[in-house]
Symmetry: D4
Subunit: 213 residues, 8 copies
């Protein structure tokens, strides 16, 4: 999985010093680096200690581009999200895709309570090679998207909501039991994981295309 | 709550003999009787012991009509359900409304995975005075319906589904955290409760209408 | 749902800057604005950035009244709550009703452990067109109210309590399994949702009244 | 704990043969025996194998009275229950009290949805030395009783209910978080345990009375 | 419940200002006041605003003694706790008992992992009229105490522990399913509730004694 | 989603009569039919009522092939499962893939407790275009497979196991929190859903291939 | 792990035919076979199909001894259990130890509610090289045993109990949060696993002993 | 358990003053002291108040060595952990073993997503007398280790991870239901408990060795 693509460091549960140490080690070998789930305080240290490291506060990521990002495929991913509060997860997903060379369109603020906004985007959805759906609360958006189109759908439950949302449990259970067939699900708030799942699909497809005369 | 409307017996957790005893007592006073959540075996006993008692196997109800059912209101309820497996709950709801004098339309098999079927019914939804939405699995239907129309929506999660549906928990949490504003929820599989909630709305409205010159 | 009534912004999960941006956009079109679940720090920013915006710390809301609030109906809502700790949720509900043109009475501090206080308010309950019951801990208040009167009851479990209250779970399960028939429930701490559910009922009733000669 | 009072065998999780063996051993020494949570099939074996053993199907108990039951105290227990479906637990409790020499009154079918029935029984409640409250669904009855009177209240959540009742969890959490002060709780469906808790209270009181000149 | 005994204010979920207002109102009528679950910051305000109010930081209580505390009974309560971390709950219980006129012995630091310490206290346990057992983690202490003596046992699960303790859930479930018969349980960390349950027992006993010639 | 591919009926929650009615309707139009989660009793009725319907007891499916199955792609799916008890889910997945024209290899009985068996199959895994991993208990197999290869991995937790497996919850949580990046998950026991997710990937790939000159 | 010791087949989730096939295959190579979690119906088939296979109904095991069982160590295991209802798990553990050549003493019916019975067995506990503690309900027995002695303690929560026992959850959480240091835990009802954990300890010790001159 | 080995104080839930008091008391008798789960603020107080006390911030421990640590055994423990975020738990375990005289090797950063790193360490694993496996997220590492070697395996789930990891629940359930036989489990994040379980094994072994001529 490792050549030409960034090494990814999960920032959560590590001290700033640990992140810096690992990132420096990787940077020395010329590799690109993506740090996820890094809060503002840690990010400040990481950015100040490593030349060229950049921080995206919304995405809670730090990125270091030592070598040009290699485009993975010309297939587009549609990155769909329900509301403003889902932005941190959506942007973590976006940064991960960008660093891994994936092309994508943002289709944001299309929660199911205002169905017309989603329906207007249907053509974009149908063109996509993979769809990532990010939603909190009851997570119904993935069922509706999965019913509209025939494309691989990767659903990301978010911890947006309160009370019976139980920190993403409601959305997670809802996406796993979706009445739309063949929806797949990643962990709560795991924008990174959804991006990586899309990469697995696009990479296998690219490999297959190369091996076909 | 009790004049002119049926007395309701919750059949679950009672023996057939107990149900018969309570129902006979009520019948003697000329009252209509509705027994809910009564399985086939108990229903057979109840029907054979009480003259005029009828069994709806799909709804799991027994009903006895000793006096004519008094129409409650001319406002129509829309009874919306997602799939075939939700029928027992939907029919329990229907039988309860029928016995309580509520007029309603059935809008069945309109799960969100096939959105067009629901959208075709939009006029019916907009005409309704109250909408009851019955769905299992992820229960997304109530969010979509609640986003489409402005009418009171009573959502009934059902225990339809398996695995992460956890016997209706996924649908229940999903409906409670719906991104559509002002959806209300009753207990899992509680078709009776949804009907009764509609009755509360219609009865208050009828009373208000009567007291207006 | 949108003409003449305020646009609602869910403050939680948004930055102060995001709230300001959305609210300014709405204000420019002359619309009233209600921001819910906004903490003191964000509220300070929102109030200082937007002319005429007001903050209710108890209700955790900010409100902007650009145009006069249109009365929705002459039916009164009874807003019932169990204890002092439920006030933030009750006041969120009150502010939402106020902004949406609903008339209501407060019936506060009538928890079931002191039944007489509730029973003294029975006439007020019977007059109401809709009752909203707000209670934490075991949430028994909605069962008692629902047994006393025949009116639509919307129950709001709150996260008040500790230990086995599990942040509102005990009250939520209790309200969903209420032995009083036809109680409906919204999400934990969702005072806004209860107000909106009442609005759905009152709006449908007003519409029906208008269409009746 | 053991002289003059029956030895108790928990029937659940034991084979009929194991119950018979233990009961015979006890009977040989002249002791009274109470078997709880014994289903009809096992009870049939136990009754047929042991001379004088009696079966109460509603209470799911078998009892053998080899020596006269010694009255424990002249203080009365009030055994309060919410509905017909709580009868098996209430009768298990009753049989246990009877075998342990406790005098008690049954106050049944006084669920909080029909408050007047409970209020009519207030004098009986106030006279009692201990109150046992048995209720399923949301278990609100113990809060109301605990608010009405000053007596020790032992609450028994039952598994009556469906859906969000989660086999007694809703009632159990509700009773543990009761807003009435000083309510104590035993396990779901544990009528036996409630009776025994009452016995502990009455026995300590009797002992204290004896040691006072 | 209210004459001669303190009025109790649950501090949690109330602002310092609200607590002060309620306490002042009560103090004006000459009543004693007990505030529970009040953190250091609120307590500082309450103490500085109300003449004579005292703060117990360990117990997280504030108390105001306007009139002499009336002794409730000469029966002693044994207040048993497992470890040092359970002290805040134990002391909340102690302060509540003190304010309500209950005499009690502290038997602390007798967790079941060092059984001999508990066994040395057996005489004290046997003399008690009521035993309150306070323990976190697995809460086994109440089973052992309940097996040793015949006295009423009120078990208080605490939130002490981490991981699978799940904030007191492990202890709570353990105490509810205790293999010792007739143990009763109050909410997690509810030292107040246990004291009040003891008061119910002692008060009923005192009343009975008075009414006996 | 619907041309040339079978219509799928979820057998669970439907009566045999309902399944027969739906299947007959579909069969009349010449469509292939797949019924999933159908127990032996219902399957017997379905097979006897519909000419050409076949039952796979292990897969709990009934299938009707009215028109030849159209091959979907020449990309192979690797169907990996942990143990013998996972067979029903694995075979449901296999039957679904067969009916949808997917080519696949079975790699069974390669649970992580015997790692060498899995490692021997590594070449087969690397050749696959999609991998479906089916495992119960702790579900660790998907993490190991996801770490070995770069291909899309769809994980199916099964309800195999007892105790802390909690009917598939342990495996489901384990797969969602996998330390291998980009694993996606479907519902517990949802062999059908995994097959359909693979179909979404293969179909999108086939469509892309067709549209490339 | 496999020479000279029996191959173990987990009977649950396999058909009788599958068990027979696997067992026959193993038997042919002269190996001993242990089948666990096999119900009476399957066991009857297995016993009738395989010469020499024996069924222990209490332990729910079938065993085939083709070659003599090799004693593993002269260190004794103490197999401690709380009550009669724990016997099936205790006997599964016993049969597994027997088949694996472990010597053990049974110390049964020593639940903590009757502490003296356990204390009488203290010498046996102190002599043991490993202690296995099997208990349901609140599972307090392992804390007490772990506090009494210094030996490795393997705790097995059982599903014995009802209500808040939640099928072994209470005991499992209790054992995991034991206040006695260094207790280890296996899955609910996993008598087999506890035996195997003991075998790991004894085997490592035997190996170490052999490699010491 | 107590001679020659350190007394252990659980720092969590105690004030710095309480820790200091207990530690001073122990130090006065010349005993070694280990304080676990002590945060930086408390540690600063403890270190400044007690001569010779040392703080390990990573391990969250304070240690006082008044007398030389007595080596327990020449058997080595392998301390295996999955990732950098598990370090605090692993180091708590390491410090506990060091204080108790256990010799051990660290085998860190060998999570199952990169299997080769673990396989390279196989010889070290096979040499160990006890293996402690520390892992968060899905906790699969213990299944793989338990399948590779025959040695006692003590698994420690950690709270590392987010979303469906539910603070260590996913890892805990996964380890308890491991498909590798005879794995034992301690509480989430309980590095201390795992070390102590290893000590129980090594101590019993040392005692047995001593008593063998
Ligand atoms: N299906 C049902 N679900 C929930 N509550 C019900 C149901 N059917 C009846 N009830 C309620 O149960 C009451 C009757 O309870 P009971 O007196 O036990 O028969 C009715 O008045 C209703 O309030
Ligand atoms: N306190 C609240 N609780 C639940 N939903 C709310 C609340 N306040 C606002 N909403 C809903 O959130 C929507 C706004 O979401 P957003 O577009 O993210 O600001 C509103 O239209 C309401 O439907
Ligand atoms: N620590 C506590 N835990 C649970 N309930 C309490 C506690 N302290 C006081 N209460 C109860 O809360 C009531 C006061 O509630 P409030 O009127 O909101 O102050 C008292 O009468 C007690 O019944
Ligand atoms: N009662 C049991 N509980 C848990 N695991 C078991 C049990 N019996 C056998 N096993 C494990 O299951 C494996 C056999 O699984 P299988 O190959 O599916 O028969 C054995 O090697 C054991 O590791
Ligand atoms: Mg929005
Ligand atoms: Mg359908
Ligand atoms: Mg109050
Ligand atoms: Mg009734
Ligand atoms: Mg201590
Ligand atoms: Mg196998
Ligand atoms: Mg026994
Ligand atoms: Mg790493």
């Amino acid at each position: 999985i490792r050549q030409g693509v960034p090494e990814v460091i999960l920032g959560e549960g590590k001290t700033a010093a640990q992140i810096v140490a690992i990132a420096k080690e990787l940077a020395r070998t010329g590799q690109n680096v993506l740090v996820t789930r890094v809060d503002d305080a840690k990010a400040a240290v990481v950015v100040s200690e490593i030349e060229g490291m950049k921080h995206s506060p919304m995405a809670r990521t730090c990125t270091l581009e030592r070598s040009p990002i290699v485009p993975l495929s010309d297939t587009k991913v549609a990155l769909v999200s329900a509301g403003t509060s889902d932005l941190p997860v959506a942007e973590e997903c976006a940064e991960t895709m960008r660093m891994l060379g994936v092309t994508f369109d943002r289709i944001f603020d299309v929660g199911v309570a205002g169905l017309h906004r989603l329906l207007h985007k249907r053509p974009l959805l149908e063109e996509a090679g993979v769809i990532i759906v990010i939603a909190g609360m009851e997570g119904a958006l993935s069922s509706v998207v999965g019913g509209l189109v025939d494309v691989p759908v990767i659903a990301v439950p978010t911890s947006v909501g309160y009370g019976a949302a139980f920190h993403g449990l409601a959305a997670m259970l809802g996406m796993l039991t979706s009445c739309a067939s063949g929806i797949t699900v990643v962990n709560i708030d795991n924008g990174f994981g959804a991006a990586f799942a899309a990469v697995r699909i696009l990479r296998a497809r690219a490999r297959a295309a190369r091996s076909t005369p």
